[in-house]
């Protein structure tokens, strides 16, 4: 009896679940075929050949982009038979650097590591890295450095020398729905827009039904430290002294400044007007989805996500046409934005041969052809400019004109300390402080933007001072 009851309840729940699946309205069936995302599938590692020197490579870029990392490493291993690069995924950039810190005591360190720009200072502070500049100088390859994308090169030039080899670099953009822009009588080709213009667009793009309820918001927002940094860079305002940490160890954060406040108030005013929808902390995915589904007409995102957004818009099938424009700014401000991403660090952990192997891989990875392969398969910038001459990159730029806007954006102005990098040992927690401030202000928990940023900067500085006191030099 009891058994029967159990069976019946199980069967009934199953039926109900199935019914729920069926009951969901089947809209836009014609577009349901998934568009392939920017990826290569199956990537089994090639095997090490006898006699090859093993180079341990820790990397933190996972998912579909991680597949391209493996594919690139495979290409290298197939291209020569002196070295074997053995890639080991370390879960995330953050965990990669945490493992390196733990490995300092035990001696378990990789020969080559991919670490995000937020970890640059911590990598230098390990005392176990060999600046790649040393190898470039020794082999007389300054020409390669000179050909690097200036914004990218500057991001990893700390204390006057190139510390690590840039590998994957991207920047933040304002993504727009070109179709909605045209329908609202706006110009989707105007890439340089002011805060006030964006607010105006958001009003024009917001759609309300007969009873006044918003059916489409002008812009989708979420708190993100990276965008906050981009805005500082675009206005050439440093976030910390001295020189954003580029010429010497960062001693103090100063980001509770007028541009920081203006950025927060810019977002808040649109939320208050009802022309923006706020997705909250960690709302990036939701904001992207809403944009591709036509529920908003603008959102901020990384250029590396361009193809995924295009694929998503095609799948949603509501006519969203993905376009990109520069990060908005004050009037008469044409500053470049900053790049984010990761770079390759050589350590002194292994044998001289392993170090040479790591360097050989970097040299190879910086050739125009490899960069073209890498960039066209991921959505990151090619690190060396010669790469744009290759057929693959030319084709990619024709297929994705939105990417050209991103290239233009990092070339908008000359390199300055205030617009190339933020280097500190507590970068990750600083970003978190900024997110907390933005969220506190946008949700109304903290009454003014100034107050929110004052609290954040105090927290950031407390931790920064503590970190600085724990490292020597």
């Amino acid at each position: 009896m009891r058994k029967l009851g159990l069976f019946v309840s199980a069967a009934l729940s199953l039926v109900l679940v199935l019914v729920t699946f069926m009951a969901v309205p089947m809209v836009s069936m014609q577009n349901a075929t998934p568009v392939p995302a920017p990826t290569l599938t199956s990537v089994p590692l090639v095997a090490q050949q006898a006699g090859e020197v093993e180079v341990t490579f820790w990397y933190g870029l996972g998912g579909l982009l991680g597949n391209v990392v493996i594919e690139t490493v495979n290409m290298y291993n197939d291209s020569q038979d002196v070295y074997y690069v053995n890639p080991v995924f370390q879960s995330s950039y953050d965990d990669t650097i945490n493992r390196i810190n733990a490995g300092l005591a035990s001696g378990e360190l990789p020969d080559l590591a991919q670490v995000f720009e937020a970890g640059s200072q911590r990598m230098i502070d390990t005392g176990r890295i060999i600046p790649v500049q040393t190898f470039f100088d020794r082999d007389g390859l300054q020409s390669v450095i000179d050909d690097m994308e200036p914004a990218v090169r500057a991001n990893y030039t700390i204390n006057g020398i190139l510390q690590s080899a840039p590998f994957n670099s991207s920047t933040a953009m304002l993504f727009i729905d070109r179709a909605a822009f045209v329908a609202a009588g706006l110009n989707p080709d105007q890439t340089l827009n002011t805060f006030d213009e964006i607010k105006e667009y958001a009003r024009a793009l917001t759609v309300r039904d007969a009873s006044g309820n918003v059916t489409r918001h002008g812009i989708g927002l979420y708190p993100e430290g990276w965008f906050f940094e981009q805005i500082h860079a675009a206005h050439e305002v440093p976030m910390g002294t001295p020189d954003n940490g580029i010429t010497g160890r960062m001693e103090q954060y100063t980001y509770n400044d007028s541009i920081g406040v203006e950025w927060l108030e810019f977002m808040k005013s649109m939320v208050d007007e009802g022309t923006a929808i706020y997705f909250g902390t960690g709302g990036g995915n939701a904001a992207n989805a809403a944009f591709t589904n036509g529920e908003t007409s603008m959102t901020f995102s990384s250029i590396a996500g361009l193809r995924t957004l295009i694929a998503g818009a095609e799948r949603a099938g509501v006519g969203v046409e993905v376009g990109t424009v520069f990060m908005p700014r004050r009037p008469d401000t044409a500053g470049k934005t900053i790049v984010g991403g990761a770079s390759l660090w050589i350590t002194d952990a292994g044998s001289t041969e392993a170090q040479e192997g790591a360097w050989d891989f970097i040299k190879w990875a910086l050739t125009p052809e490899v960069q073209a392969f890498w960039a066209s398969n991921t959505g990151y910038y090619p690190v060396v400019q010669a790469s744009y001459e290759t057929e693959i990159m030319q084709a990619a730029l024709v297929a994705y004109p939105q990417f050209q806007v991103a290239i233009d954006q990092i070339r908008l102005s000359e390199i300055a300390f205030a617009n190339t990098a933020h280097i500190s040992g507590t970068f990750v927690s600083m970003r978190q402080d900024v997110i907390t401030a933005i969220d506190g202000y946008l949700t109304g928990a903290i009454p003014t933007a100034q107050e929110a940023l004052d609290i954040a900067v105090a927290t950031s500085n407390e931790l920064l001072t503590e970190y600085n006191s724990t490292v020597s030099n």
Binding site: M1, S9, A10, L12, S13, L16, V17, T20, F21, M22, V24, P25, M26, S28, M29, A32, T33, P34, V35, P36, A37, T41, S42, P44, T56, L61, G62, G63, L64, L65, G66, N67, V88, F89, S91, S92, R99, A102, A105, S106, G107, E108, G284, N285, N288, A289, A290, T292, N293, S301, S302, A304, G305, T308, L309, A311, G312, R315, A316, G379
Partner: protein
Amino acid sequence: MSVLSHSRRGPARVRYNIIIYALLILASIILGFPLIFALSLALQGPVPNPSLLPRDLTQLDWGVFLQVFEQQPQIIRWIFNSFVVASGVTLGVLFTSSLMAYALSYLKFPGKTLLLFFALGSLMVPFEATLIPNYLLVARLRWSDSFQGLILPFVASGFGVFLLRQYFLTLPRDLYDAALVDGCTRLRYLWSILLPLSRPALATLAVYTFLTTWNQFYWPLLVTNSTEWRTTQVGITVFRNFEFAVFNIQMAATLIVMLPTLLLLILGQRQLVSGLTAGALKG
């Protein structure tokens, strides 16, 4: 429930059953939702904007599960690793905890209280505090990339000792005295009488230990240097996308690594439940 339903007849009983089943179905949907949602996301293809449930059931992308294995054939090895490690730790904890709890609850010896306090004291030291010393020890023993490095640091548990000691103390001591009078050795008493009687406590400890070990993340990340020695929780992070969110393969991989534990739970549920309730009734 059976008592209640026998006392009712006709329409009243039908109505009663309808309510019960409605509640059961509701509960199972709530409990099953994370799994259904994961399955739904997995089957919708590589898109940034999946819907709550698939919009078109004829377009489900079942190949995603194959893709997981294509992309990381090592996932089978990771599941195997996790199983060996979680089972090893569970057996080790049951073994060491029952022996020590036995000594602490039945034997008289000098320093007993002190020993109990040591066991309890180990509960107060957070794992994070011992992480680096443990890691350095394991690294110096050259136990990186090995089962002993993953298992041995966890085979003794202050929590296990405390839990079993408390349970052993609830069993009548007369049983112990009678057994000894009848010529039973102390070890035999532990094996043949005490442990069978303590099934509910042992089952609780086993399930708890197995799951916490299965879910370990940071320790396996630290003490494994090669891809084939990863455990599932570390391994599946390779499916997480950066810069943009596409969930399908990640969710498919999550479902795949959940399956073995789910099967274990479903198959072992009867014993677990009967063990727990048997103890509850006998008190």
